[in-house]
Subunit: 321 residues, 2 copies
């Protein structure tokens, strides 16, 4: 079969012949119809990941055909039996195991789920990792309730956008931040009530005046901006975070956090059970993931180039040609 | 009646004549038998608190007689109807309302609870604020379970010591930190499995080697030491904090927090319902609060002097002479 492989680090992935997958007894072969990029994939091509082995087939997100049915893939292995946290054997799909950027993948049968009927291949492929991370962070960890006010930072990324869609579908009032006003505007078209450009001074004070404080904040940046959250929070607020791209947090004051009974909740993607619950929610509310752009999988190097610019709004998708 | 009053800031409180309390319809008069100091009281005498009014009667903790029965006082007013967080009207007993450092106090009838039968006046007076804060932080917020490993920092203070006793009674394995080895030794006599002196280099690494990681950490210091917690935590751990005496937190890395699904949970003292549950637990396990020293209330200035040295192990109590 053909696959998009990483042969050497700091070089574009190449579309090349690889051995056909050989499933073990618990596995099935999926004909991948579409896949989607995550930052994890880009980091691996740049060598910014532990234990990289080459050649490897990247890709955590995928949708395809199995036995004449349309399936969507749970994007990880070995979560384990414990809902609160993953097992030590847990790993995301794609490196070291072969991922979804290929014509076929051999995957445990327990990883395949019926694809939501209202989605096409590209939309379905855009959902798994971002949707599952948004789901766990918003609902399992932050226990978002109808009518609450939510702030989602760095709108434009897959998780942030899916969190926006999920929170609106759950009846929350959502505000966003971004470094570009165009992305904020785009988010308001998707239903956000407002937003702030965090490059502007006093953005936090103006946002608090506009929104009146938040019950839930969803963040993947960390860094010094994280220290602004306590004063943006309402009593009883939950701050869910699943990344820390801006580095360590400095200047975090505990007094408003304990006095307002605030919870800071680390989160990742979730369990297969959470994946099923997320898919049910997506189907029920007919949520369509935001797709930024679609590339033929055979020209996947261009998709990686696009992602490294960081200007996308939504998922970058690879389609089988 | 006589009371220990703060007449001017940065001066010792004085035992002086004050008007007798005049209860409104919802209030009753308690003859205070014993009271206990909290850091809040000391901070107020030093002017380190918002909205201080003088003269005032301090004191949040108290036990006494009402109508021929022995009662212990819920140490705050107006928590409100919402278990997750207190109302805007919430305030701790003692300044601006008159507190427990007096012969009598007029207090809402809903603030009085039957005193646990195995405690004497001094032990009962040592319980309310510290016990309620420890209870809420350990159980309501951190959801401590039997068999878990707990780290309690800065052992010696009232909340930390009560948390130690509660956690042991709940079947947890407890470790402590302190700046003095004598306090760690004292804590092991109360049932702690071990501990570390945080003034020593690499205390965190040695403690992790000894204990193997923690499921719950209870802290009131904050500061730079807080940034060591993520690596001390087991997956799914909860860090409960109810103070920040060492200032803002710097250098906090989010990666281990989200990958290990850790929760950082701000907490304070709790609601009247939590107070009742805490009292039931204390009665059931016959927990006796650790009393450092007892002073006649009329000589209360000496108790404040003792607290400002910071060498106590347990509560500093005032007894009616």
């Amino acid at each position: 079969m053909k696959a998009l492989i990483v042969n050497q680090l700091n070089a574009p992935p190449i579309w090349a012949e690889m051995p056909d997958p050989r499933p073990n007894e618990a596995e099935v072969i999926i004909n991948i119809k579409a896949a989607a990029l995550n930052h994890r994939d880009l980091f691996i091509t740049k060598g910014q990941y532990a234990g990289i082995q080459t050649p490897c087939i990247l890709g955590s997100d995928g949708a395809g055909e199995w036995n004449g049915t349309q399936v969507i893939l749970y994007p990880a292995l070995a979560w384990g039996d414990n809902p609160p946290y993953q097992s030590k054997e847990f790993r995301v799909l794609g490196m070291p195991e072969n991922g979804t950027f290929a014509e076929q993948i051999s995957i445990p049968k327990s990883n395949i789920f019926p694809m939501p009927e209202h989605l096409n291949w590209e939309q379905a492929a855009a959902l798994p990792l971002a949707g599952l991370t948004a789901w766990r962070t918003l609902f399992s960890r932050c226990q978002l309730k109808k009518g609450e006010k939510v702030l989602i930072t760095g709108i434009g990324g897959g998780v942030a956008l899916t969190a926006l869609q999920f929170a609106i579908a759950a009846g929350a009032e959502v505000f966003v931040t971004s470094s570009t006003s165009a992305k904020i505007e785009h988010a308001t078209k998707l239903g956000a009530k407002g937003g702030a450009n965090y490059r502007e001074s006093d953005w936090d004070k103006r946002l608090k005046q506009e929104a009146g404080g938040f019950d839930v904040i969803i963040d993947s940046a960390g860094g010094d901006g994280f220290a602004l959250f306590p004063s943006l929070c309402n009593p009883g607020a939950r701050v869910g975070f699943y990344g820390g791209t801006q580095g360590k947090v400095n200047g975090l004051s505990l007094q408003p956090l304990f006095w307002k009974q605030i919870s800071l909740l680390g989160s990742t993607m979730g369990s297969p059970q959470e994946f099923q619950t997320m898919l049910d929610f997506v189907q029920q509310h007919e949520i369509v993931p935001v797709v930024d752009s679609v590339y033929p999988m055979s020209a996947g190097a261009k998709a990686f180039e696009k992602m490294s610019l960081g200007e996308q709004f939504g998922k970058i998708v690879l389609k089988q040609s």
